[in-house]
């Protein structure tokens, strides 16, 4: 039998830990904080406590697009800015890929051939997702 005492420890630690972590976010949400913000100015961090000194101006970087989603990639250890990585536009293929992979796994419960035949719609959907779109700007470097 699994330990009843460890089970109680697990439950209460999980319950308290979860709410300590996420309940403050819940309060922030009620105060109007949106879930995700991608138009923040990128802070230039030079110390371990960049937000603490209140007397100096906050140092920020500009230049990420304000009209499309971009991720800023940096070097791994020094976090020096390296790449502006444009994120893909919204599209139908992520949804269709998710539906196709659901079909594959449900099918595989009933027959091992579900993995084989179910892989075909998954491959089609992922390929269409990956295929270059006319709406996407070309990334430099070639031809």
């Amino acid at each position: 039998m699994l330990s009843e005492r460890l089970g109680r420890w697990n439950f209460w630690l999980f319950f308290v830990g979860f709410n300590l972590t996420f309940f403050p976010m819940h309060m922030l949400g009620l105060h109007g904080m949106p879930r995700r913000v991608y138009t923040y100015e990128v802070p230039a961090v030079r110390s371990r406590e960049p937000l603490w000194p209140l007397d100096t101006a906050l140092e920020v970087m500009t230049g990420l697009s304000k009209t499309k989603r971009e991720a800023l990639l940096t070097s791994s250890t020094d976090a020096l800015p390296a790449t502006r990585w444009a994120m893909p536009d919204p599209g139908i293929w992520p949804l269709l890929s998710a539906l196709a992979i659901t079909l594959l796994f449900v099918w595989s419960i009933f027959s091992p051939w579900g993995v084989v035949w179910g892989a075909i719609p998954v491959a089609i959907a992922l390929t269409a997702w990956f295929w270059p779109k006319r709406s996407q700007p070309s990334m430099g470097g070639a031809e």
């Binding site: 990639l73 070097s75 800015p81 990334m139 430099g140 470097g141």
Partner: protein, 201 residues
Amino acid sequence: MRAATVVGDVSGLPDHNFGSTSLGWWGVIGFMLIEGMGFVLAIGAYYYLLPYETSWPPINPPPSLLWGTVFTAIAIASEIPNQWIKKRAAKYDLPAVRFGLLLMTLIGVILLAIRALEFTALNVSWDKNAYGSIVWAIVALHTLHMATDTFDSGVLAAIALFKKFDGRKFSDAADNALYWHFIVWSWVVLYLVVYWTPRWI
């Protein structure tokens, strides 16, 4: 609210890169960690089952060596063109990348055909016993990953031949080669587990 001073401008940064400053590279690294863990769990299951049997394999002879060994040799040799295409992709060498992607797709298809022969030489059916199930699970799991990368090489080859192959795609071709490293070297470990464990214990 603190006032903000602009101290730099990132608008001049490149829109793609190679290695750890490319988002696709991190995707492949994360994928290798997740799938590598899947292989570790499968190997763990193999050695978990082993001591429950009086002999290993329980009834059948061990997997025949021929096709598995041929597969392993070709897979290791394929690292040479694979590493070459990775280097050429970072130099934006379109003819080399076209040729390399087609070659890697062809090597993948040949290896898949050899893998089909390997399944006939495992000397056990997947539903015979626990040993048969875990051996088939390990080889099938690896086959799934290899088929995925072969298909990925084929799609990239088609884009390189028929569409505009921009900088991001060259970066993708390099990441595709990175993933093939994982396919080859994870197999070397799995080959030792599946083919040599029954002979060494």
